[in-house]
Subunit: 145 residues, 2 copies
DNA sequence: ATTAAGATGTATATAAGATGTATCTTATAT
DNA sequence: ATATAAGATACATCTTATATACATCTTAAT
């Protein structure tokens, strides 16, 4: 059981932005910092902007910043809007479900409850919580331009 | 976020065995009932036997049965022992972790807490709970030989 | 001895996910 | 105005995890 790297990267982008004192960054800067594919990050950033988590600006001196204070961005919310699906078992996916047990099986409701518990925990935290020890993290960042 | 089909099938095998009044079944019977790959099921069954959830018998009139009463087989236990990993994010996998934030990031502990909550819910249920409406399920089964 | 069942190891196919390439659009500094 | 630095978008490809298939071995009942 794992989240996609897409979701992982989404969270990391938001954490990074929460870490920066000026809150402003470019995709290239992020890709270099985390040493991950810039091309992939482009899509992550684009999606985060579509979902309203960040604001982006094209053109010279463009970049991105959090759209709200870090304390107002819930981790559960990010995961829910980023993870492609929560088809814990086959029966969660209407277009792929072939299980003959159907509604007679109680596994589905158990797994659903577990999934909600998972997200419920994440709903108790925000990006601000993830960045709590800002001092240490800041030391990893490149200095001010 | 989803469990592997391997885990899904493992649960279905146990549910099926819990459903049958005599508690005895063969791989072929299971593969036909669920209309899934027999070859894949072979491995699922083998693993369930290794983990002590079922007893198997080779040879003529062989097959499998639950090793304990359905009420003593916890769903969480099955999922934990069947799902190949719980690497919720990259940083959970020691051999693949490249994230520069390392221990300075609090996302990991949040995600871990969420994962434990997920399994915690499943720990409250057993195979017996999954089979609760035995009457309905029994009607789906082939009649006594 | 034969047969029906599971055990085991290896190989292959499939699908999802991650990444790469190319091109387009927008903003702004000069 | 124009050049340039950024993000936006579409498409192609590579990689890997997962699922499935195949072949052979082992065991037990008849």
């Amino acid at each position: 059981m794992q989240l996609t790297r897409y979701t992982d990267y989404s969270l990391r982008v938001l954490v990074y932005l929460g870490m920066k004192t000026d809150g402003w960054a470019t995709i290239t800067e992020l890709a270099e910092f985390y040493a991950i594919s810039r091309n992939h990050l482009v899509k992550v950033v684009h999606h985060l902007a579509q979902q309203g988590f960040i604001n982006t600006l094209r053109g010279k001196h463009g970049g991105m910043a959090l759209a709200r204070a870090p304390g107002l961005i819930g981790i559960g919310d990010v995961v829910r809007r980023t993870e492609p699906n929560f088809h814990i078992a086959e029966c969660f996916n209407p277009t792929a479900d072939h299980c003959v047990l159907g509604p007679n099986c109680r596994l589905k409701s158990m797994l659903n409850e577990a999934n909600l518990a998972f997200l419920g925990v994440l709903d108790r935290y925000t990006i601000a919580d993830a960045v709590a020890n800002q001092g240490l993290l800041a030391s990893l960042l490149p200095g001010p331009k």
